[in-house]
């Protein structure tokens, strides 16, 4: 049974997590994601779950590591500066193949930055969330409904592939209120976790969760095996939305809040006779490279619309194999692109034709 309710994006994440079977939330306050913690603090004690305010993000992510080691669904959330602190833990979670869900409601950086929305943690989330060779599944919601749906998906994918999964949201979607439909039970699949440390009961050999591998030949093999798994994730889990791409001559690539602004700009541009469409990655990793590669044969140019100084644009260039020019349209520091700002860029690129 589903119900439709008006909710803030951050609350939708929290409620969806609970309905996906998450009973452990470990966090530390930071704007603009604190509603997730506040919601969990209210709800968890009522349903026999655990809410714990840790002494730092470092501690919170390591509590997640503990809960995940016991094979239980768990989540932590933060915003950009806090995610930097969690990176140590993310590396360990990935190294130990521990399913876990991490939410980043991004704000402007670097440093302490600001508290307004941003997408400038794209590199961190998709390329460098800690030391060593590893990947996380990264999901980018663009509506409050998706905050809920992708949270639920994150739990399933994390369990299915035994790896951390991140919701990469931003302050706007975190704070905005929209109607959402929530299924009573969003816990799609239950996964067996024979690897979990829950006590041997003297019935089996001891389980060990560990990432110290001193023999280089073994550590190399484990890395290669993990990347075999990542190949499977790349082939099975890519998700994206195409919008008005059928006849498009210009292709915008944008995710999250930037994609919503882009859609408004596309409507306006089309009124003026410019054929522009959108490819919206829903999974930032695995990245939807294939549709972008295909679009490169049809369109005359790409525009990467992002709230960062040009991070997503690298993946667009790689995916399109630089066959067509890729332009950047961005605002940063907590400033948000307006539809007019994007429209101006579309018209400019349209004027240039296929020129760089």
């Amino acid at each position: 049974m589903s119900e439709k309710v008006l909710m803030k994006g951050n609350e939708a994440i929290a409620e969806a997590a609970i309905r996906s079977g998450c009973r452990f939330y470990l966090g530390y306050p930071i704007t603009p994601q604190t509603e997730v913690a506040a919601y969990m603090a209210k709800r968890m004690p009522k349903i026999g779950g655990t809410f714990l305010q840790a002494e730092s993000e470092l501690s919170a992510i390591n509590m997640v590591y503990g809960v995940a080691s016991a094979g239980k669904r768990c989540m932590t959330s933060s915003s950009s500066p806090g995610i930097s602190l969690k990176c140590e833990g993310l590396s360990y979670l990935a190294a130990c193949d521990l399913p876990s869900v991490i939410v980043n409601v991004q704000r402007g950086g670097p440093g302490l930055g600001g508290i307004q929305p941003s997408q400038s943690d794209y590199f961190q989330a998709t390329k460098g969330s800690g030391h060593g060779d590893f990947r996380m599944i990264v999901l980018a919601p663009s509506s409050v409904q998706e905050m809920a749906d992708l949270t639920s998906l994150a739990f399933d994918l994390a369990d299915k592939h035994r790896m951390p999964a991140m919701i990469l949201a931003d302050g706007t979607i975190g704070q905005m209120m929209e109607p959402v439909e929530l299924a009573e039970d969003m816990h799609a699949t239950q996964y067996e976790k024979p690897w979990a440390c829950t006590g041997t009961k003297l019935e089996r050999g001891h389980n060990i969760i560990n990432s110290l591998i001193l023999k280089p030949e073994i550590l190399e093999r484990l890395n290669i095996e993990r990347y075999e798994k990542y190949k499977i994730v790349e082939s099975e889990e890519v998700r994206y939305e195409e919008y008005m791409m059928d006849d498009a001559e210009i292709c915008i690539v944008a995710f999250g809040i930037a994609s919503r602004v882009a859609k408004s700009a596309i409507m306006e541009a089309r009124k003026q006779g410019v054929k522009v469409g959108l490819i919206r990655p829903i999974t930032l990793w695995p990245f939807p490279a294939e549709p972008i590669r295909a679009a490169a044969d049809k369109v005359k140019a790409f525009i990467s619309v992002e709230l960062s100084m040009g991070q997503l644009i690298y993946d667009v260039r790689l995916a399109s194999e630089c066959k067509k020019p890729v332009h950047l349209c961005s605002r940063v520091g907590g400033m948000i692109t307006s539809p007019d700002y994007v429209l101006k860029k579309i018209l400019e690129v349209n004027e240039m034709g296929g020129a760089v």
């Binding site: 002494e55 730092s56 590591y65 503990g66 094979g71 001891h206 110290l212």
Partner: protein
């Protein structure tokens, strides 16, 4: 009649510790505590970063290896997820009292129902003998080659004393393993720290003064003497907190 055998709580993997290192004795005491309380099958241990990192191979219970200093946070997660299990950490002084100070203090302040075995050997063993938060004033190490100068390197941290000001911990005791008598006493303390958890009494930490003959540059016997003559006076042995002492005495 069997007079002496390996506790079931230890695996058959040979310990890698240096000759005369007291980590081995402390491992045995932890394993004996699991045996005596019959809890091995429901215990999850947390190995820390330091010489004892590979304790995940030595203890027969389920084991989770934690990042440097984070063992009490990992143990908190485990215990919250598995309230009916027994969760312990095994940590060195660099791990517990330097990089992991916040995790130590706050798991104690929350009164997490976990057991911490804190091995204080006044040095960073694994990385080759650098100054630890517990290195003594004047102690020569790789990173205090002229002796620990408290004017620039500060003073050692006395963990039991520090934590004893908190309301959270149930039990804090400092013991040593420098003689058979001391080992017997340490065994009692470690057993109590585990029993406390079984009985739901809360945060229990046993600090064990330990030796590092290799990085102290001593023979095992000299190291035991150095511990007795230099560490024990600076780190007085004894109970620093026992919330339930009166209750237990009345029984």
């Amino acid at each position: 009649m069997v007079v002496f055998e390996k506790p079931h709580g230890l695996t058959d993997v040979p310990l890698h510790y240096c000759p005369g290192c007291t980590h081995g004795i402390i491992h045995r005491l932890v394993a004996e505590a699991m045996d005596e309380l019959g809890i091995e099958g429901r215990t999850v241990g947390v190995a820390s970063v330091g010489c004892s990192v590979m304790s995940y191979d030595y203890f027969n219970c389920d084991m989770v290896q934690a990042a440097h200093g984070r063992a009490p946070a990992v143990a908190t997660g485990l215990k919250r997820a598995l309230p009916d299990n027994i969760v312990f950490t095994y940590q060195g002084d660099g791990d517990l009292a330097a990089i992991g100070t916040a995790e130590t203090v706050h798991s104690a302040a929350r009164g997490e129902n976990i057991t911490i075995i804190f091995v204080n050997n006044a040095i960073y063993g694994m990385t080759g003998g650098q100054m630890a938060p517990t290195s003594l004033p004047g102690q020569v190490t790789q990173t205090s080659p002229y002796g620990r100068d408290v004017k620039t390197a500060g003073y050692p941290v006395r963990v039991c004393e520090l934590l004893s000001s908190l309301d959270g911990p149930a039990y804090l005791e400092r013991v040593s393993v420098d003689s058979p008598k001391a080992v017997k006493n340490a065994k009692r303390a470690i057993l109590k720290a585990f029993r406390n958890q079984v009985e739901g009494k809360g945060f229990s930490l046993v600090e064990v003064l330990s030796t590092c003959p290799t990085n102290w540059g001593m023979t095992p016997v000299e190291a035991l003497e150095w511990c007795r003559e230099n560490m024990v006076p600076y780190y007085p042995l004894g109970v620093y907190k026992d919330k339930y002492a009166d209750e237990e005495a009345a029984k």
